[in-house]
């Protein structure tokens, strides 16, 4: 130890472009291994769940263990449908962005289960405070696809009057809060909303999602502090998709064993979940929902997944990670896994799957044609120009009235 001295340390990802990725070092617990405690358990009793990994689907795509939510084939097919639609929608929107029809886009490829399974496990009236990669919630809640597209192309039918970047949806009727581009801000807001629900005694649970990188933001810590202090009926989800644009998850994680483990210090029940396992995400969300609804307080869920595509249309992942990394990701593809599970149950087959994909593709293509008929960002028509002065305040004051006049609208 004579030479021991403090050294400046900057963590680095295991693989960079050109490396042969191999995730064997991860040593992920097997599906079915985790115990499922009563949802009313003390937060401190969730330590093993925070350090482990709740999984239901095993490598043979069979549902195993105490966390199996034992969902009907009908529900599973519905979930599969929403995930397939999400992926097809994302792919199509990316193409349209490349064709110059959209200013920007963000796909959720590989993480579809995180949003879809959670949305299906929540009550439809539970308010969600998502970040920008949970479009699956909208599909699961039945949002009109044409309306989603009209928002993304900021046309005359955009329900946000052309004010937000594409994918920053808002849908109050679907209990979907307005998405911010500033990271983490929605986490403590969701806690405040949940506290208000508890204050009103309406029995509602609130859920929010941020990424692994955003756990470094102060709002993550503020949200957990509030959630713990006030035992808010809230589900706080950290989508660990391994990458914050080009920054690997270790930069935000530090030497903590898992993101879920960060919740334990706050006294919040915490679970790491296989985010590519529809059944596990569904089961963990239900557990957290039950806990919140029973007045036992908040849960922090880490959804362990992998961002299969770029962060957004503005970055190229091959510049910071091996192109083959997603292919060897040990938790596989959430759609493929649920599909194989259903096929194994005799509840699905390749032919029906191909037909589903074809129908969804047709729906997306047809919907886009309709969306375009209401205008595009490029060629209009857009929302009326004077609408830029609306909704700033409850009423327009003299400054906005004059400025509108100055603009001549």
């Amino acid at each position: 130890m004579a030479d021991a001295s403090p050294r400046f340390h900057v963590p680095a990802p295991p693989f960079r472009p050109g490396d042969e990725p191999d995730f064997q070092f991860l040593k992920l617990p097997k599906a079915g291994e985790a115990k499922r405690p009563d949802p009313g358990v003390a937060a401190a009793e969730t330590r093993e769940l925070a350090l482990g990994l709740v999984g239901v689907l095993d490598h043979n795509h069979q549902a195993v263990g105490e966390w199996d939510p034992k969902l009907s084939a009908e529900i599973l097919r519905e979930g599969l449908g929403h995930m397939v639609l999400t992926r097809i929608y994302d792919d199509r929107m990316l193409k349209l962005q490349r064709q110059g029809k959209m200013s920007f886009y963000m796909k959720s490829t590989g993480e579809e289960a995180v949003a879809v399974a959670a949305a299906m496990a929540l009550d439809k009236k539970d308010m969600v405070f998502p970040s920008y990669r949970q479009q699956g919630i909208l599909f699961a809640r039945g949002r009109n696809i044409v309306d989603m597209m009209c928002h993304c192309i900021s046309n005359s039918r955009d329900n946000l009057k052309g004010r937000q970047l594409p994918v920053h949806y808002t849908w109050k009727d679907g209990a979907f809060f307005t998405i911010s581009g500033n990271l983490g801000t929605q986490f403590p807001q969701a806690v405040g909303y949940a506290m208000a629900c508890a204050y009103k005694g309406d029995g509602q649970v609130t859920a929010s999602w941020i990424g692994d990188g955003t756990t470094a933001e102060g709002d993550f810590h503020g949200a957990l502090t509030l959630a713990s202090t006030y035992r808010a009926p809230v589900i706080l989800n950290v989508v660990n998709n391994q990458w914050a644009i080009s920054t690997y998850q270790g930069i935000a994680l530090g030497d903590a064993p898992t993101f879920a483990s960060k919740g334990l210090g706050y006294g919040v029940a915490s679970i790491r979940v296989d985010g590519n396992d529809f059944l596990a995400v569904y089961a963990a969300t239900k557990w957290a929902h039950e806990r919140a609804a029973a007045g036992e307080g908040a849960t922090l869920l880490e959804l362990f997944t992998y961002r299969g595509d770029a962060h957004s249309t503005s970055d190229d992942p091959s510049k910071y990670r091996p192109k083959t990394e997603y292919g060897v990701w040990p938790l596989g593809d959430p759609i493929e896994r649920l599909k194989q599970h259903l096929i194994g149950q005799g509840e699905w087959d390749e032919k029906r799957h191909a037909k589903l994909e074809e129908e969804m593709t047709k729906l997306v293509v047809k919907s886009y044609k309709e969306a375009e008929s209401y205008g595009t960002l490029h060629d209009g028509p857009l929302s009326p120009t004077e609408s830029i002065f609306e909704d700033v305040y409850a009423e327009q004051d003299w400054r906005l009235k004059r400025q509108r006049r100055d603009l001549g609208v």
Binding site: T178, N182, P188, V191, M195, G218, H221, V392
Partner: protein, 338 residues
Amino acid sequence: MAVKNMIQALNDAMDVLLTNDPDVVIFGEDAGYFGGVFKTTDTLQGKHGADRVFDTPINEAAIAAMAVGMAARGLKPIAEIQFADYIFPAIDQIVSEMSRIRYRSAGQFTSGCVVRTPWGGGIRGGQTHSMSPEAFFTHVPGVKVVVPSTPYDAKGLLIASLESGDPVIFFEPKRIYNGPYDGVPDKPLLSWAKHPKGEVPDGHYTVKLGEADVVREGEACTVVTYGTLVHVAEAACEASGIDAEIIDLRTLVPYDIETIARSVNKTGRVVVAHEAPRTSGFGAELAAQIQEECFYALEAPVYRLTGWDTPYPHAHEWAYFPTRDRMVRAMKTVTEAV
């Protein structure tokens, strides 16, 4: 009608709001059991319950975010930031979120709430308990900014703020919270003695946001100011005999341009005054707008009387903020200009 100081008037306003509307909740650091470090929320928890008036962790961003989330669910939150100097950790939640929820959701969600915070210097608070950061917030579309100068206005403006449905940053001039605080006994500002307390009606009433008060009519020049300096301007008139017209803005966003313009068109000479630093202070906005509105009526350049472009000092605070004597000099400069 009772005679109250500003703290008592604000406490009364919150009591009325809590009594009249079960959706009103009040929270902040030490705001619950203890009743606030300035005792502004004193007794409210005991009277209305700990689920309506409660303490928060020391996390201003979380306090502001809690207000945003609660407002989205239909509550009417009043959040206290213990000192205006501490509002900066909350700035992202106020600037990027609270101010824009209505706009970015095209009216689907709103974030009507009041963020109350003690503001300004003069109580030996040093650089972390004395700031006047109002200009930062006047630059943010979507929030209103209010600064009362009397107990009557404080109560009426606070009630109006929460009822406006918009997010309001409510700056409370702590130098006149309890009445006149001379700070330096050999520099008494005698006219303040008329203002520390005032008649405050019982029950519910409002002072409309966006309407200035002509505190003193005069012909020699116009002083446009707000908060503590309203009293300094009055003291300056009394000390100098200058017949100034004093406009108390009460609301900075939206400010009352009509009342300002009417006065400046009459007097042709104007001092804009605030305690915050000069550069990009709210006085710069006022000066620019006044020259745009009243250029041909102006007989002297608009005079900006402000704090200095330094952090707020501890030992020399009476050299920092505009005093009565500096106000007199400012009035003389504009009235004597030819």
